[in-house]
Symmetry: C2
Subunit: 409 residues, 2 copies
Amino acid sequence: MALINEHYLKLQAGYLFPEIGRRVNEFVAANPDKKIIKMGIGDVTRPLVPTVLKAFHEGVDEQGKPESFKGYGPEQGYEFLRKAIAENAYQANGIDIPADDIIVSDGSKCDTGNIQEIFGASNKIAICDPVYPVYADTTVMSGKTGACQPNGYYEGVIYMPCTDENGFTPDLPTERPDLIFLCYPNNPTGTVASKEELTKWVNYARENKSIILFDAAYEAFITDDSIPRSIYEIEGAKEVAIEFRSFSKTAGFTGTRCAFTVIPEELKAYDSQGNAHSVKKLWLRRHSTKFNGVSYPVQKAAAAVYTPEGKKEVKEVIAYYMENARIMRESLNEIGYTVYGGVNAPYVWVKTKGGMSSWDFFDKVLNEANVVGTPGSGFGPAGEGYFRFSAFADRDNVLEAMTRIKNLS
Amino acid sequence: MALINEHYLKLQAGYLFPEIGRRVNEFVAANPDKKIIKMGIGDVTRPLVPTVLKAFHEGVDEQGKPESFKGYGPEQGYEFLRKAIAENAYQANGIDIPADDIIVSDGSKCDTGNIQEIFGASNKIAICDPVYPVYADTTVMSGKTGACQPNGYYEGVIYMPCTDENGFTPDLPTERPDLIFLCYPNNPTGTVASKEELTKWVNYARENKSIILFDAAYEAFITDDSIPRSIYEIEGAKEVAIEFRSFSKTAGFTGTRCAFTVIPEELKAYDSQGNAHSVKKLWLRRHSTKFNGVSYPVQKAAAAVYTPEGKKEVKEVIAYYMENARIMRESLNEIGYTVYGGVNAPYVWVKTKGGMSSWDFFDKVLNEANVVGTPGSGFGPAGEGYFRFSAFADRDNVLEAMTRIKNLS
């Protein structure tokens, strides 16, 4: 008799975005004449830039001629892309990461989820609250937790609340975790981590032989030079950290799909006898057994992000989104909201007024302003009373949404 | 302390294709003037067909304009593609599979590997010997086996030997499996399954509440109308089978990446209390949590395979490969080899002469004819004494390779 993976039964049904979709669809059905402005899901809206587009087309053309046709490529990505990443995203910033430590994939969601598979079920995981739901869900799926408790916390997971009291920057946990998920610039709070803050975590991980799973999907939005763009700017991080990066938000690849994971040669994890094993080797074994590489034309397109023209064009798109963030921050501030994030990060994290719950605020903004945001409580109990606006919208929509919200209050 | 998934330590190091690569590279380094002909790894060589290419370019163009730009798509694939698949690959052949039972992915390797995650570790898996190595490796990774034994078999896996005595068609296992991997047309033996043969398996699975994981990656190579192209041609299969299909071999997508899995609504698996659960729902939960959809332009390209022109063009490519297979079969037969497969399947399975081992034959063919094939023993102990040639080569190379091998003997 075929038996299911019963850990799946522990998963809470209401994944955030489907529930938002349901409420929006219901509203649209009842109000077909209303123009909805979506600032909920963190999805980009600007098209691929010309240089990327040109390379993408060239890649497709190569697939149409016998002499340039590419079949299976290396599972970890073509060397031309891994070299471009190593040189431009790391070595140019003084970070010594070789192309061999970079493994290309089709998304950071896949990578941050799949990485769980190479670690044993007895590992204790630490995650922030509020947090991107995938970290917890994939921890559950891989059998590292107990049941879900009434407060929404899974048994066996170490939660690190991020609130306005601690500046949305978690304290070191009291119980020792084996794997620590950190995301900076943060989704959903828009917080960034200073060099000191990251040094605290790297030192903690070194002392405890823990591994930091560092999600740097929003790195491109950092404009302040004193904020680290990579965890490897911190001394000793190569021995304790995996970094996840993506072309999704950096270069508008959410529908085109390309990302990468950095696992330094130095990084080790242990078997139950205490023997050290190369984490990169384990990940490559998984990657080459369960994945067949990213589409070749997509890899060509991704590499073009690092050409001089590509860099310039992508920077302009980022600046466009960051101007959206500035407008949102200032508009919401003006009408009396307490606002976090939106500087060095594409998310604006807003405290509701008068202790209104996140979902009540969601319904109010949807029904009265016809604007869709994301309820903070959907990211975890500590997000209750907060609301996330995404800066990945068209300028006109941002301006219109802010006017409507102004008229609300 | 971060602990590894110790099941990975059971995996045997020598994955087949890296070892082939090593021996080929060694030969090339020692013989830089020799022209190697590769008929080993099952990778296509013909370019994408014009209609697919045109749609691919159109998809890229859409990503360059704000009004047609696509960000995140549905994780299970766009409806236009799922509908095209359901209508053309199933409904047109009288098989009632709706678009909702189709889940698009970036490869059958990913799907046949990842599917393991939704089933519990106590399931017993049955696989053929010889077999595509990914089934066994992902079974090990997911913790469903014991150690590897001296004969190359993992403890706890039910192996079903396929030999010339049983026509490379496995008998029903004596021990009852929960999950049964079947691949038809078969990789590596090129065997196909008749309606009667598949009916035997469907009935067996129904009696035992087992699930058949049916890998139909080579379905497009079936030219004999009496051979089922889908397991769902068998009555009752929707209650017991998952079908994996791919654009890789059908339409030259090995470097472009698109595939799909069919999980009928009717298919159930059980929890330890004996309650039935929808397998599709579990797979969609995994898919939407750990995957972010296939690149939009790639999905556009894949849908074009089902246009009238696309179908015609793709059929011509398949016919080209099948003519290769015919040439190989007849040439090898002529010089006294016993040859299997190569009809309704792109693989030719050759018995070595005089009991020569698969790797000895590999070395002989490489060193004396400068042709690369795949040693049968690399697919499992029952493949010892056999050799696989792939028909996915250029015609000139196939003719040249056959001439060289003729001169060998």
